[in-house]
């Protein structure tokens, strides 16, 4: 079953002489539960691709369907709501809210919806991520690996259709990287979570079911 479908996606930055074609008429699709790695040299357009998949930016032309929804037909506010329900984002630098503790950070997407957090789900995630002893700590009291685990927890809490990870191990040592990748793979299997990960590390890319290579804005 196709969960992500990208049709003729083009993104152009700037105009005239400063025009940069970041993505050039890209089409592909990803099935539910797949673990896809997007690799490519820096400047190849892979981050642009992730932003467009995540609904953070808007494309110049082309369409992105997630779970059957043409996400760029939505208004900005509806897109934001769609994003927090259907897309889990994991960043290289964790992007945790420094004033909220671990439990609150993980619950944030649910709280932004003004809903009650499912305690069982929250406890399960916290236990899976090995953060049980840390729930009341603030992000800056944790190690990098632990912070990344919190951000994985946050991306899982809403049972999103897809998880997007932007170089999730880029800021971690090899031991922590290994742990994070294992966790991502584990949640990919356990929750049948579709996982799209950007990386430039070929070793990590090898773990994926499929690799999409991007070069000069095109799939190669």
């Amino acid at each position: 079953m196709e969960i992500v479908k990208v049709e003729n996606l083009t993104k152009i930055y700037g105009k005239g002489e400063t025009k940069v074609v970041a993505l050039d008429n890209v089409s592909f699709s990803i099935n539910k539960g797949e673990f896809v790695a997007i690799i490519g040299p820096s400047g190849s357009g892979k981050s642009t691709m992730l932003h467009l998949l995540g609904g953070v930016d808007r494309p110049t032309s082309g369409k992105v369907y997630i779970n059957g929804t043409d996400i760029y037909s939505l208004s900005n506010d509806n897109l934001a709501i769609f994003r927090r329900k259907q897309i889990g984002l994991i960043y290289q630098f964790y992007n945790l809210i420094p004033v909220l503790n671990i439990e609150e950070n993980i619950s944030l997407p649910v709280l932004l919806d003004g809903k009650q957090v499912d305690k069982n789900k929250l406890n399960e995630i916290i236990t899976t991520l090995g953060l049980k002893e840390r729930v009341n700590h603030l992000p800056n009291q944790l190690s990098g690996g632990q912070q990344q685990r919190v951000s994985i927890g946050r991306s899982l809490i809403n049972n999103p259709a897809i998880m997007l990870a932007d170089e999730p191990t880029g800021n971690l040592d090899s031991k922590n990287s290994r742990e994070i990748i294992d966790l991502l793979k584990y949640s990919n299997r356990k929750y049948e979570q579709t996982l799209i990960m950007i990386t430039h590390d070929p070793e990590i890319a090898k773990e994926a079911d499929r690799i999409i290579k991007i070069e000069d804005g095109k799939i190669s």
């Binding site: 995540g54 953070v56 900005n76 506010d77 934001a80 709501i81 769609f82 994003r83 927090r84 329900k85 897309i87 984002l89 960043y91 992007n95 945790l96 809210i97 420094p98 004033v99 909220l100 609150e104 944030l108 997407p109 709280l111 932004l112 003004g114 946050r154």
Partner: protein
């Protein structure tokens, strides 16, 4: 509790220094604006006070009427204060060949409303005391504390009564009573003495029955709504067939009350205040916006994170607004309090310096009014 508001509060607590600086900025601006407003209102009130103690607090006076006007005024029910002034009579001035003394009678509780406060000495406290216009006094005349005997009566010329005109050769003086008073104070020229009158004004105390029995009275008025004083006075004068020319207005008091038609003073005061407030507002908007913008740029990263997690623009706007509300709720009342208190203290100190300048050598308790 909304999670974003919670984040905002925690953020404000975490950045205590910036929060306090922002609040101080708001307090300062609030204090300055309220100080300017308070100062203007106080100054206006102070000038009104000075004017009321110089000339009395009446707003208009209908002259040359009869006691029936009192009933009419009460009936029309437009006036806060209805103050009858009885025409007692003229008296020969033993200290001047040309001048007379004109005596009016007022009830004790009303005397300051038609004559203000004594320039020197005090206002009369019983019927044997008299206050005399400052124009009466020279080196030969009796002074405060001295007794003065007055033959009170009418100036008549060919059967006509004379009041303010110069002494005529064939005029006669018809004495009605002779009374001795103690001069207890000196007042400014009251409403019934002008520069071209050939008499000096004097005021004594009378009671209500004497007023009701007098031939002629003047009626001083203070309107319930000062803005209506012109039309209400005219209507009353018309109802007792008194000419409009017999209505006098206390223009300086009306001016400081913001009623008078020629209110250049108020226009000046308001425009100076307006300009000052605009300047303060521009200044404080720049300062506060700057502080706020820094805190926003510091939070931009966080806002970016929140957006990436799926916070809507509306939610972000609300949380920034919430921050402003928190700062404002703490800062604005504090600012107003500081401004009013500060200017109150300043005025208390300054008033003792200003009051003598504005009221000449009057020994009078410092009456400065500010609206707290």
């Amino acid at each position: 509790m909304n999670i974003l508001n919670d984040i905002t509060k925690k953020y404000l607590k975490l950045n205590r220094k910036r929060t306090i600086v922002s609040i101080i900025g708001i307090v300062l601006s609030g204090a300055m604006i309220s100080a300017v407003t308070t100062l203007a209102v106080s100054f206006q009130g102070f000038m009104l006070d000075v004017e009321e103690s110089n000339n009395g607090s009446y707003e208009s006076i209908i002259e040359n009427s009869t006691p029936e006007i009192i009933e009419q005024a009460e009936e029309q029910n437009n006036f806060k204060d209805i103050i009858p002034v009885s025409h007692i009579g003229m008296a020969e001035n033993d200290f001047s060949d040309e001048n007379f003394i004109r005596i009016m009678g007022v009830e004790k509780e009303n005397i300051d409303k038609v004559a203000g406060m004594a320039l020197e000495g005090r206002m009369p406290e019983n019927e044997n005391e008299i206050v005399v216009s400052t124009s009466f006094f020279n080196e030969e005349t009796p002074y405060i504390g001295d007794k003065i005997t007055l033959k009170i009566g009418k100036r008549l010329s060919d059967g006509y009564e004379l009041i303010g005109s110069p002494k005529e050769e064939n005029e006669e003086f018809e004495v009605e009573e002779t009374r001795t008073f103690t001069i207890c104070g000196i007042i400014n020229r009251p409403y019934f003495e002008t520069y071209y009158d050939y008499y000096n004004a004097a005021i004594i105390l009378v009671d209500r029955s004497e007023i009701l029995n007098s031939e002629k009275i003047d009626l001083a008025l203070i309107d319930k709504n000062s803005k209506n004083i012109y039309e209400d006075s005219e209507r009353l004068a018309e109802s007792v067939n008194v000419s409009e020319e017999d209505i006098q207005y206390n223009n300086s008091v009306l001016m400081y009350k913001g009623v008078s038609l020629n209110s250049g003073f108020n226009a000046m005061l308001y425009s100076v205040c307006g300009i000052l407030i605009v300047v303060i507002m521009i200044g404080s908007i720049l300062v506060i916006y700057n502080g706020f913008a820094i805190s926003v740029s510091e939070r931009k990263k966080q806002i970016g994170m929140l957006i990436s997690i799926g916070a809507t623009k509306k939610q972000i706007k609300k949380s920034v607004l919430f921050e402003g509300v928190i700062l404002g709720v703490i800062g604005i009342p504090l600012g107003i309090l500081c401004g009013v208190l500060g200017i109150g203290i300043t005025l208390k100190i300054v008033s003792s310096l200003i009051a003598p300048l504005l009221t000449f050598t009057r020994k009078r308790r410092n009456r400065i009014s500010y609206f707290i």
